[in-house]
């Protein structure tokens, strides 16, 4: 099966078959990163541009490594060091890059919908690496790969997502994806950080963390996104941590073999206690490894592989 689409903009328009295809192919790519020579010649001569308008370490590095392990040429552009600071518009930057004839453009932007504009404007494939509080499809795919690897399946699992749901593109992409794959999703956080109408996405909404953790198979902790919050959404960090930090006490409410995940970067002691982040349930570093495999799979599939 081939991935018949030009762009990867969000999980909302992915089918179950497409998700399974990406996860299967990613599974085969994991082994490449374990080899002494971590490179295959598959995308020789292809060019991948990472266009990042927002700070990023893991996603950008992950895409760059994925491209390079497939022998594609990867070029990184971050807004702060590009002609964006000279006043160039998104359209002009896009058109300029298009003229250099890359094959795939990976884009992160603070505005929801920015990659969609590029996708319409350019003939190149666009991969959304996070647009505002909208979607972060590759994160959801790597999270689903991690769950599938660790638990063996996704269907029927109780997944609890805790934290700043309102500002989280990771939460949205995961809700779309996990719902399609048949998981039962609960979102949990202070009322101010639970967007109005989130229940319509097919999730259970809970403000009490202890209730949300009960019998959970998977717990996804999210970071407080201060950079997107323009007003006080809760009294203090200490108060937030006292109610919503995953720790050795409240993790006992979940299933015994619960899987703990976090998209990173972690704020230790705020949303997750250090002993849990580094503990036996944590799959946080595996998420990072799986991220490279998932991104390799997407680059491969968008370039026409199967």
């Amino acid at each position: 099966m081939k991935l018949v689409r030009k762009d990867v903009l969000g999980i909302a328009d992915f089918s179950v078959e497409e998700i399974n295809l990406v996860l299967d192919i990613a599974g085969s790519f994991k082994e490449i990163s374990q080899r002494p020579i971590k490179k295959v010649p598959t995308l020789r001569g292809s060019t991948v541009i990472n266009l990042f308008y927002e700070p990023s370490t893991r996603t950008r590095t992950s895409f760059e490594i994925a491209a390079k392990r497939l022998s594609a040429d990867a070029i990184n552009i971050s807004a702060s060091t590009s002609s964006v600071v000279k006043g160039e518009t998104l359209m002009d930057t896009a058109k300029t890059l298009e003229s250099m004839n890359p094959d795939i453009i990976v884009m992160r932007h603070a505005c929801a919908g920015a990659p969609h504009i590029l996708a319409k404007l350019l003939k190149q494939s666009i991969i959304n690496a996070g647009d505002g509080a909208h979607e972060h499809p590759t994160q959801a795919l790597l999270d689903m790969l991690t769950i599938r690897d660790k638990m063996g399946y996704i269907r029927g699992l109780a997944v609890t997502i805790v934290g700043d749901i309102a500002h989280s593109r990771v939460a949205r992409s995961n809700i779309y994806g996990l719902a399609k794959m048949g998981a039962k999703v609960t979102v949990c956080g202070p009322a101010m950080l639970l967007p109005y109408g989130i229940g319509r996405m097919g999730v259970r909404v809970e403000t009490n963390m202890r209730k949300a953790l009960e019998r959970a198979d998977v717990i996804m902790m999210l970071r407080m996104q201060f950079e997107r919050q323009n007003k006080a959404t809760f009294p203090s960090l200490r108060e937030y941590a006292s109610q919503y930090c995953l720790n050795a006490d409240n993790i006992r409410l979940a299933k015994e073999d619960v899987l703990v995940m976090h998209p990173g970067p972690i704020n230790r002691g705020i949303e997750i206690a250090p002993d849990i982040a580094d503990g036996p349930h944590s799959a946080i570093l595996e998420q990072v490894s799986n991220g490279v495999a998932v991104r390799m799979a997407l680059l491969y599939l968008l370039a026409g592989g199967q």
């Binding site: 599974g27 085969s28 080899r35 002494p36 020579i37 295959v40 010649p41 026409g304 592989g305 199967q306």
Partner: protein, 179 residues
């Protein structure tokens, strides 16, 4: 469309070929030291396993056996027409100084073997690579020649050669289908 099916090898004949190739490999390499079998996904996997088990039984020593998926090394990977889905590669150890027996069910144009050799080099520097196949159907497009052949089977380009091997050793055969 009119298709004609012709059985060219039955289970007994396949078994005897595997036995003969096993002894040839043993004789050429004077034992099993540093030997490793690598089956090309998917047709070569069972054949590699069968050869390695047979030789293990003769020598009383387990021989490492791996699986190689060559899709990422193909010269037509991004061209239309392929129908193979990418699968996992499993090479059990570093190939430095190993004697690699590369195994596939059928050799045809030789392009798969070219890709496989490139792939193997990414896992180390083997001392030698030898090629074992059950069927050589000719029509090579690259200067590649198998070292161990079960059966030479001159074929037409419009024919299809199908090898059926099963884990349970049931209904094993090689057939030529005329399209």
């Amino acid at each position: 469309m009119n298709t004609k099916k012709r059985v060219v090898m039955d289970a007994d004949k396949i078994e005897r070929s595997i036995m003969r190739i096993s002894y040839e490999i043993l004789e050429d390499h004077k034992g099993v030291t540093d030997l490793i079998f690598i089956g090309i996904r998917s047709g070569g996997i069972l054949l590699a396993k069968r050869l390695s088990e047979r030789i293990s039984r003769i020598e009383g020593k387990a021989i490492p056996t791996g699986i190689l998926d060559i899709n990422l090394y193909r010269d037509d990977v991004m061209m239309a027409g392929g129908k193979r889905k990418l699968g996992e590669t499993h090479i059990p150890c570093c190939l430095d100084n190993k004697k690699v027996i590369l195994v596939d069910d059928v050799i045809f144009t030789g392009r798969t073997i070219r890709a496989a050799m490139d792939a193997l080099m990414d896992f180390g520097r083997p001392k030698i690579i030898r090629l074992a196949v059950l069927i050589d159907r000719g029509h090579r497009e690259l200067p590649i020649r198998p070292d161990y052949v079960g059966e030479n089977l001159p074929s037409s380009l419009w024919e299809e050669v199908n090898v059926t091997l099963t884990e349970a050793k049931a209904h094993e055969e090689v057939v030529v289908i005329e399209n």
